[in-house]
Amino acid sequence: MFSIATESLDVNLLRLSLDDSRAGAYVSFEGWVRDHNEGRAVTRLEYEAHQSLAVSEAERILLEAKDRFGLIAFRCIHRVGTLAIGELAVWVGVTAAHRAEAFEGCRYIIDEIKARLPIWKKEHYADGSSQWVNCQSCSSPQHQLAAASGSGTP
């Protein structure tokens, strides 16, 4: 149902694995590494995961989606390691009898995956700097002091 991958994904194989004659609707989501974030030019991403916790939490999420939206099949894969612009970071695919359930189920899964899985993303910028995403308050006290004298929110 869920796995963490260290190599690039074969979307075609993933899609075929969801094949089911009861399914009328297939919806997939892919998160691609884009060349910018919040106005800054991004050159690459680095993903790190806590493997066992991520897997157990993701399987909980997938079963929640199955129950809520009556999904027929569902699967999710998340990459870790260093990813270049355009690379696939996460893939979610679901099937259902009808399209409403498929769209809502797929959306639920990716929303919860992003909010709940112990996976971390570091952005590397064109100016050579880097930052852990969602981690504005992560810097150590000395760094926070330095940041407070600047214009950014701490």
Partner: protein, 85 residues
């Protein structure tokens, strides 16, 4: 009040905590009774910037509450703000 007996705990660090501590993890002896007290000690030791409220904690592969007791020979994972996808 007597000193609480020390417990042995294996800590794992990820992302910003791994960078700030400079290590992926460590095994320590601690007198901390709750996970909350444990983080306060580690924050002090490694100069972590993250307030406890922005972290989650897991023990032996289960998410736990900060008020849960520290168990001897347990594996503790500190989870900084996540950003999958």
């Amino acid at each position: 009040m007597t000193e609480a007996p020390k417990k042995q705990v294996e800590i794992q660090y990820f992302a910003v905590l791994k960078e700030q501590s400079g290590i992926p993890g460590e095994t320590i002896q601690t007198s901390a009774q709750t996970l909350r007290q444990l983080y306060v000690q580690l924050k002090e030791k490694h100069k972590f910037g993250l307030p406890l409220e922005s972290l989650r904690v897991a023990v032996d592969d289960q998410f736990r509450s900060w008020d849960d007791l520290v168990e001897d020979r347990s594996k503790v994972v500190l989870i900084p703000p996540v950003a999958g996808g």
